[in-house]
């Protein structure tokens, strides 16, 4: 089995991102999956992208444009 490398982009582990950790993932070309060195997450590029959408759940106002910043 050959060593892992980086993919075309440098994806972070979505599971670690959700606990405020930026961990680069590496790509296992034999299995066709990204994997995290720190936790047990593995996933295809499609799965990584889907999970990256999921991590945005906490940003409920992410797309809102605010015009007022006080409660007066």
């Amino acid at each position: 089995m050959a060593q892992a490398g980086k993919g075309k982009l440098n994806y972070r582990c979505p599971s670690c991102f959700m606990r405020d950790l930026d961990i680069d993932m590496f790509f296992d070309k034999d299995k066709g999956e990204y994997y995290c060195l720190r936790c047990q997450y593995t996933g295809t590029e499609e799965d990584v992208l889907a999970k990256n959408e999921m991590v945005r759940f906490r940003y409920r106002a992410m797309m809102k444009r605010f015009e007022k910043f006080d409660f007066d």
């Binding site: 440098n10 405020d20 990584v48 409920r60 006080d70």
Partner: protein, 610 residues
Amino acid sequence: MDKFVVNIIHRPEMVPEYSATVTGHGKEEDIGDKKLLTESLDIFKTQQRLAHENGLKVTIQMTYASLFNDEAVAIAKADHEKYGDEIALSLLGLPCEQFREKYKTKDFCIWMFSMEDKKAIVDDVFGKFHDTFGFYPESTGSYYMDADLTNYIKEKYPTVKCAVATCWEEGPKAYHTCNNSWYTLFDGGPWAPWIPSKQNTHAPAANEAEDSGIVAIPHLSRDLIACYDGNGSNFGTHPQNVLRGMIYDTKTWEYPYLYNLIDQYRDLAKYNNGYAYNMMFVGPGWMNKMGRWEAPYELLEKSYSDGCKYYGQLKKEGKLIDMTMSEFADYYRKKKTYTEPECALWRDILYGSDKQVFWYTDPYMRACVNMDQGGAIVDLRPYAAKLEWPVGIGTKHVQDASYPFLIQEKYRAGYFTHYAGEGTVRSAKLCHNGEEVDLCLCRTKAHFSQEGNTRILTLDPVEIEFADLTVKLQTIEYFEEGSSAIKIERKVLEMSDPSAEVELNEYMVACYGTTEYPEDMTGITLKCEGKDEKTINYEYRCREAEAFGAEAVSAVIPAIETKVSLAADKEAEGYIKEGYAFSPMFTLGYKTTLKDKGGFATWLKLEKEN
């Protein structure tokens, strides 16, 4: 008219941070890689073009490495002539072949070197700058500038009047986010420009004698809620930081949050005598042609372009003034008095809550009031101590440059703890017939006003419901300029039973530290002051003492040369509580009885004690 000032800063960093782990993955390290140098310079040129296309002036912070690059020097000179850009000098971007050869180290953070090396490097870098441009810079900076470093620079190179001197709340949280591999530990400073004291960079100078001689600006303008809780590097006026936080629509590549952040900073003018400030400083590593994490180069470039466009648009509309760092220092010196505080009533603009906090900084303290916890103080730094805290190799704090806290709700629990013990917070409890309600559970909102030299935070009244009584209570918090104290007033506006009485317990649970881990509390002295003086020398023995009519209840913490005390506006029972090993805290408080329309006020005071 309100004045919103922006500083745009670029640095030609010939070997950008992250290049080794991103661009250089799978290759042996080559710090002189010509391809890397060319790409880095291209990024710098792109940043310069985007700022100038939008009519914005730039402060070019030359790095040591770039002073050896003729093209980088030529660009700086040309853009100074054509656009009025300031040519300044950064202490970031030290790594290059010449630096490695001379100093035989891979260290690159100026505040972490020994004092001897700091002086040698500063002389080297400033000398090289002078050789290149024929003058000494007026502005400099790094992620953090410790007081000894700043004092040395100011003494040796008095032309320097402005410096990037800290990155707000970049401490243990940032360290953890980077898998405990990014050693920028400097929590506890101001979020907006200030005049640092000679004793400690974080603590603003109280007078001319303490004045370090520079105006400090923060590295980026950061979200005052999101950064305090999460990874600071996701929530600032750094477009690629917003991408790092994944705060954008992946289909449309839109990121309204960036504009909300800028606009909320503009809005702070109403709390600061009509002045507000922003800073954007993106290192070239963030516009890597290889992309940065999941963001491709095109998105990185778009976000920087959009950031410049938005600032440019505000300028065209007359809502923004762009300045170089040295211009800003002159402006700030004219408008600022030493004791004038910086205030920020800040709302959540990201998570969809209505959470609101108030940040206050002056030469004596930095405090955060949390309206989601009934106006409790959830962060407190005793700047009054002006703690001398040398950092770098050869000192007691090689990396840890944070200003110590007395209260920190994230590192020391705050109101909520697991199973046992207490967390740090300054709040109050109401007790009636065996029931107890903490104001930390009363969510509310605040309104800012100013009377003379006092900034006032008036909170919307809250209702406390006991089984047989409802109490409507209002909290008002006063920050009097130069007083080194916070006055908190509680007023009973209404009681469902006008003849009832409730007990009010004003309290502060505190400790000291700079990280998440406890410090040794031995040596702390707790006192009920006054005629009936009571003393507890901290030994983790869970002791308590009280004295009716105590003039003050206090704690002296020798490790951070600080005395903190509470005093009341009328006779009440003062008390002190020692903690224990599982709860390494102390508590200061007052208990009194309140009736309908009654009130009670206390002062939290901070002093230097050594």
